[in-house]
Symmetry: C2
Subunit: 604 residues, 2 copies
């Protein structure tokens, strides 16, 4: 008996204790996806990023491919390359796991007058009788008009289907939730409607549950974007979606399910139910925006990178597979361009840089970094491909901001000082740590302005030429299982990333006819932007050389902006004004970009 | 091995050649549903109607229940009672099958100016470029405004998802279908949009496929309502739906799937695709209206019989499980009351009795008969429980209007003349046949005014007292396998049915202060209403005794009305006026109803 059903093998993932049954020959990455193990896969399974490293403990797997030579030297296989030929047991190192990770849900709030898109009313119609045969919907509509002076002209179909039983079970009393003349939900009288604000990052998702009657934030949480398993950056996900309709649908589905899980978790914390969520506001970059809507993303991956949809959008949650109230709407903020998305609009709303009259820069640092410059009544925006180095990718010992990641480094008087997240034994180095390390190594002269390492600059430097590296943590120190190093190549990655950001700022300044010293405020948003050391960022030349007090780190401004838009229709209108006002500057075709970028590659 | 999976048996249905695998112990009716065999089940499987008779050819079934005694005498089992204990082969007699049956799709058309709720435009936007980065949706919206002066403010989500690929595959040319400011479908340029009008009867479904650009009817067809397998009349279906949420959902689902199949069939005839259907109009009685929408029907089965929804309703086809264009809408006409539904409004629209200034009666005869009286600017309506006798149910040898049914009877000079549908060997008798038989038997004195049979009135009369019966077709004649008889009890069923209808007419006349001779026109709609002999209907007292020329048989007026509403927004508005104008008269609580009804039971 060798039919398809029986030709399956078991893959066990340790120390997680997860198991998958897969077809013989499936990759370990496919098995991990099936088992719900969040393996890193920056390149989407192409074998190029080396982030899905696992150790095969027992069982037979396929011979190593060319892509695995580097990992093999350290005893690892790449899960995207190795195929299970028999029952296999693999060990997953912490650095390869996408979760847990430090979540970023806090941010600077700004006060807002509560005026959400939905309003709700308790209504008590007369029960029907032989002399009053009005249909339930008519009865309720008329009671709403008599008792509250509110006119509705539509009822969501799902809400309508729940109406007759609800009215009869609760003695002809009900709470109606109304949005723009439509009844979108029915509930027992007295139930306050819930709202959900979500910032869908390429890597992380942050969500806030809000009571739309009191304006109170009932719960907040951050999780990994479950699409991580299908490619870590936007381009890898676009490539995956382009593999076919099923793949595109799967990307949408896993994200929607992730949002459902997150909503359930938040509601459980608040002792509520996710079917009480009547309105959600989602923000994300243009690709996340399209993926959560199930819109095609191919055109976002090809010049001229146009969005399918840019204007503000309302869609029933149900259409996206979100299990909220039957008629709940999801509102998406406008996108500005293919790479400046609704999340940047949301960040601008929360940071308010366009309102103060100051010359101000707003940055949201991520794999793509969006930058806006407010000056003289103008609002200029661009997007730069800063890459995933600050997320720990493409860095030899890089990892995300998870326990054991070196997040802070100081080199002084020959000493090497560092901190790890949660004070856990050092495992690798995350974005803020590698930025610090480069800044400090430059400061003590181990790194030269062009990024090359001086082999004699420090006792911890080893190797030569392109293979020079600095041992930040020697194996054994504080429980480290292996050396944690910063390589010459890592320095180059940081140079590429910081140069992209700096070039973006400089091109915007040029467009506005300003000098960097005229910048009065720099608002830095996003998770990496919260944890980075501004001094180090200035030291490597990522940020303009301005006094420390001109910088503000605002946390998850995109998420906070989403919450504002959830709570206030005025804020919603403001995002449309912002999107309309923005002058988008395309860097790739800008005449001075290459020149400015090349300059910015140097370490001051 | 006796796990659940293996404890299954096979049930074969002959001569249909259909097979089901069911759990051992399942009823033959359950097996028939699974096999897609449309068995009659008037009572919804309660064992009381005797319409699901089958002959067990081989295999072991459960012992007969008390409910089966009558059928057993003729060698039949009731499929709802007999359980398959082993592999079973059963023979299904034609009278137990719901299809094929004479469909009723024709009707008197009235001219209408084409002005549907949807309009469509070919649009050719400029392709995007590095200097024109507008999002696809913005680009199209602006092109629509520039090229046609049409403004839209929403786009259906499914249509939006199709947009980017469609534009790129067809060289930035597209047909947009627009409804009330919303883009509901996108298609290659030049595609004419399709509309579907459907009359959902309790028993039959009639549908019309219309080209909404030319107004041409491309195809029409009638099929059985697939819910028949769950109970033949409205009350049986309500009872089934009340068994639980799954049952209610199943009733909705089978109907929606039936409509999908019908739409596919019509589109195939017209060499089109059902995803090109952008608008549908559904009419039905209040229960069918609620069932197709998935609305609860419990409250329709209990006094005071109020509808969940009465006002005109637009809902996305997708919400009902209808696979038309992604953003296609379904429009439902208003209901008047729990038992006077959208189909009657549609019939009134098509027949136009409220417009002429004449004193006119409109009847739609079915299991429930809706009656309207237009007089002196008023429009009075009522519903009467005429029962399923005219559908052949509760009649000893009754059957639907299918091949082999006696549909016409004349008794003169001692001869018995009759016609069967399709001239097939006589199998039973359908509504028009039994009405004729009763009228003729009364005319020659075999039946007395109270419905009793005179045992000596005719050589074909046999039995005595309550068991008297008239042999309409002796076994062997023209290939009949058994006698086809009209029993004393059958006569009583016809008396109950016709009295209900006549009492409805008389109560409405009384409410309007009119005498029957003042009626200038009687419009008779519906399938039975088309095939019945008006002379016989007058003879038994079902209709007022008026000259033949005052009667008009208009065919499927409800279906024609649905088509009018599909093609014309003006007609749509008129249905709202009709529903608003109707004064509903509740017969069950009317002070004179019982008296009038009792009088009407007599045969003149």
């Amino acid at each position: 008996m060798t039919d398809e059903l029986t030709d399956r093998v078991t893959v066990d993932f340790e120390p997680l204790g997860r198991r998958a049954r897969v077809a013989r020959g499936a990759t370990l990455l496919e098995a991990a996806r099936q088992a719900g193990v969040g393996l890193n896969a920056v390149c989407g399974g192409a074998g190029t990023c080396g982030t899905c490293r696992v150790r095969v403990v027992s069982g037979q797997v396929s011979p190593p491919t060319a892509a695995e030579q580097e990992s093999l030297a350290e005893g690892f296989r790449l899960a995207c390359q190795a195929c299970a030929l028999d029952d296999v047991r693999v060990d997953v190192p912490p650095a390869s796991i996408t979760a847990p990770q430090r979540a970023q849900i806090e941010g600077r709030e700004r006060p807002v007058e509560l005026d959400p898109a939905v309003h709700s009313f308790d209504v008590a119609p007369d029960p029907p009788s032989l002399t009053d045969l009005r249909a339930d919907a008519t009865r309720l509509r008329e009671a709403l008009e008599e008792q509250h002076g509110v006119t509705v002209n539509r009822c969501d179909h799902g809400a309508l289907c729940q109406l007759p039983a609800l009215l009869r079970e609760h003695g002809w009393n009900a709470r109606l939730v109304i949005r723009d003349g439509e009844v979108i939900a029915v509930a027992p009288a007295g139930t306050s409607p819930l709202g959900l604000a979500v910032d869908i990052g390429t890597t992380k998702v942050a969500a806030y549950l809000v009571d739309l009657e009191s304006g109170e934030t009932l719960a907040a949480a951050g999780v990994m974007n479950p699409q991580i398993a299908y490619g870590e950056d936007v381009m890898a996900r676009i490539a995956y979606a382009m593999d076919g309709e099923d793949q595109a649908r799967e990307l949408q589905r896993v994200l929607a399910e992730g949002l459902n899980d997150l909503a359930c978790k938040l509601c459980a914390q608040a002792e509520r139910d996710s079917v009480e969520i009547v309105e959600a506001v989602l923000v994300g970059n243009t690709c996340m925006h399209h993926l959560v809507l199930g819109l095609p993303v191919e055109q976002l991956g090809l010049a001229p990178y146009v969005a399918a949809l840019a204007y503000p959008y309302d869609v029933k949650a149900q259409e996206l597979g979100l299990r909220f109230a039957p008629g709940a709407y999801v509102h998406l903020l406008p996108n500005i361009a293919g790479f400046v998305g609704a999340d940047h609009v949301s960040m601008l709303l929360a940071a308010g840089i366009h309102e103060t009259g100051e010359v101000a820069v707003g940055l949201d640092i991520g794999t793509n970094t969006e930058i806006s410059l407010a000056a003289n009544g103008r609002l200029l925006s661009c997007s730069c491909a800063s890459g995933p180095a600050f997320e720990g990718a493409h860095i030899r010992d890089g990892m995300r901001a998870a326990p054991g990641a070196v997040e802070w480094v100081r080199l002084a008087d020959g000493r090497v000082e560092y901190q790890t997240i949660d004070d856990a034994p050092p495992v690798g180095i995350c974005g803020s740590g590698v930025l610090d390390a480069v800044a400090e190594l430059r400061k003590i002269g181990v790194i030269k302005p062009n990024g090359a390492m001086n082999p004699d600059g420090h006792p911890r430097v080893r190797g030569t030429g392109a293979h020079t590296e600095f041992v930040l943590v020697p194996a054994g120190e504080r429980g480290a299982l292996r050396d944690v190093v910063v390589t010459r190549k890592d320095v180059n990655e940081i140079q590429l990333a910081k140069a992209a950001i700096r070039a973006g700022v400089d091109v915007l300044l040029e467009e506005a006819g300003l000098e960097e010293q005229q910048i009065e405020r720099v608002v830095v948003a996003g998770a990496f932007g919260t944890y980075l050391d501004v001094g180090s960022a200035v030291a490597v030349g990522m940020f303009p050389s301005l006094p420390r007090e001109r910088f503000v780190q605002v946390g998850n401004a995109a998420g906070i902006g989403a919450k504002l838009v959830l709570m206030s229709r005025r804020a919603r209108t403001m995002t449309q004004d912002i999107a309309r006002r923005v002058e988008y500057v395309e860097l790739t075709t800008h005449p001075h970009f290459v020149e400015v970028y090349t300059m910015a590659l140097m370490l001051p």
